[in-house]
Symmetry: C2
Subunit: 326 residues, 2 copies
């Protein structure tokens, strides 16, 4: 009998990763192609499916694709629409329709952070959890909220935009047009802004002072912290303080078992997690204190995105199976 | 055949209301007895069940009680425990055990705001909704969060404490021991504190200046607003501003279809809802704007609490039925 797999697709501004994945996280095939973000969406999918066709021909009958899961910025779970995705010149496009023109299978779409949350639940550190938050600390801050074993999509598919909660009233300007959003502080770009603020506000010495604007990345800030650079350490401390305080609010809503961090900035480990934990605990209502685990994603950066997309469709197929049986 | 009903119990600091309720909100019997908060919990339940016994004897075979739902401050859904409830000298007590000593039936316990949310879903204004927030604006601020048709309890049963989110950093002191909690601003007592602040900060004339501390209730503030008292109107405006801003954050988490307000302060209607709506919309991310309904509970104050408790157990019996069928 042919092995059941799903096609997981993670669409980024630069590259699109995809793979065929079994139920137990065995990635049977994995590839990445340029997204070519200036071209329309159907160009990307045409190239992607010609690759998939090759693999299926080679495996000839050994694989049965059961469905397609797609993680994409602004992807809407209910409609399959992607509306004006940042960094992609797509306009509004329905990815379910687009994929089903190529292959007549169940397709599920959501944003990258929701897919990452499901990836942790199926293949990662949240395997036995039913209530947790997944926070991606990349260029921005993304979030996937899981309640009772299901991703929270809200009534319209747009729940989980924790990056755009107000962290500082009348604070830093955000690309969304508002001010003080959490992701202007707690993200790789937020950390960079904090370092620039600290460099401007004083003449304190710092390794980072010698870098040009281009060179000043979150990786460089991490390396400076590793060398004991006080200003870099202060920048991490401030970032963790803003994030920890807001997470205390999150817990008052949702009382999750854990908060899981993924993405580039999460790899800074205790430089970021230690102040997050301190300021979170400090601001918690007593009933929540010392209960919520702060964890780093256990999935490797290269695999987590397509595993998330795969988990998205496995999860859907499982839920459908349950509904049909009942 | 005997009619199926449930026993709904709402325990307050002063009175305990209870009733026998059918599936369609028909209250077949309703009564209220003093809670006598200084006595232990089993004293209350003994008195309550002797009343229930009387009713069952009168109705002799006409009624079949299918289960018991209890709304109580600090009630934990998972364990049935009530731990150190405010205003009740109970210590820690398990209400499921206590009730099942009297009557061997399914018993479900939760806090009053969660029960109120279920009451709105079964009998009230949220009948066809699957994602909404219920906010009770009484002495404090309580909240029940419904996602995908189910109350969010979190991993330990303590989710939904929106009253203790930080609304103002280092703001007003709260009974929980922290500062700046939302309920120190957005509640009947918060409104009172705002009026006192406004009276102290200036010598502006106001009807409210003639009242003693005892007399200054949220009802009096409402009446002053009705008479056009500028200071009272400003107090409502400020209360709505603080609440509206925080609700913009709530929507970024949960993207609910509606936010429903109940409790004494909600009866002030547009005095409170108008500024809430204005500041909420002003602070929303574009994708959420002009989508979320702000509604007042349609259930009468006298009935909503026991209808909530009844909905709690009807909901549980329905879910159990579904699980058994599947």
């Amino acid at each position: 009998m042919a092995e059941k797999v799903v096609l997981g697709i993670d669409i980024g501004g630069t590259n699109t990763a995809f793979g065929l994945i079994g139920q137990k996280s065995d990635i049977l095939f994995q590839e990445s192609i340029p997204t070519e973000s200036k071209k329309p969406a159907d160009d990307l999918f045409r190239r992607l499916f010609s690759k998939i066709k090759e693999v299926r021909e080679i495996k000839n009958g050994e694989l049965q694709i059961a469905g397609v899961g797609i993680g994409v910025p602004n992807g809407n779970y209910y409609s399959g629409m992607v509306e004006n995705p940042p960094n992609l010149s797509w306009g509004d496009v329905n990815l379910i329709d687009l994929v089903q023109q190529e292959i007549n299978l169940p397709v599920v779409v959501t944003n990258d952070a929701n897919a990452a949350a499901l990836g942790e639940m199926y293949y990662g550190i949240a395997k036995n959890m039913k209530d947790f938050l997944l926070i991606t600390l990349g260029t921005g801050l993304g979030s996937g909220i899981v309640v009772n074993g299901r991703v929270v999509y809200g009534h319209d598919g747009y729940a989980g935009e924790m990056g755009h909660m107000t962290a500082v009233r009348d604070g830093r300007s955000c690309s969304c047009g508002r001010r003080g959003c959490l992701e202007t502080y707690a993200s790789a770009s937020g950390l960079r802004r904090t370092v620039i603020d600290l460099l401007m506000d004083s003449s304190r010495s710092s390794i980072l002072r010698t870098l040009s604007d281009d060179q000043l990345t979150s990786k460089k800030i991490y390396e400076a912290a590793e060398k004991g650079d006080k200003l870099a350490l202060d920048a991490f401390e401030f970032t963790g303080k803003i994030l920890g305080r807001k997470l205390a609010d999150s817990i008052a809503y949702l009382s999750p078992e854990a908060i899981i961090f993924s993405g580039g900035l999460a790899e800074a480990g205790d430089y970021i997690l230690k102040p997050v934990r301190f300021y979170m605990e400090k601001n918690l209502l007593t009933i929540y204190k010392n209960k919520v685990k702060l964890l780093q994603s256990g999935l490797s950066a290269g695999k987590s995105a397509i595993l998330g997309a795969a988990a998205l469709i496995w999860n859907e197929l499982r839920q459908k199976g349950e509904d049909e049986e009942s």
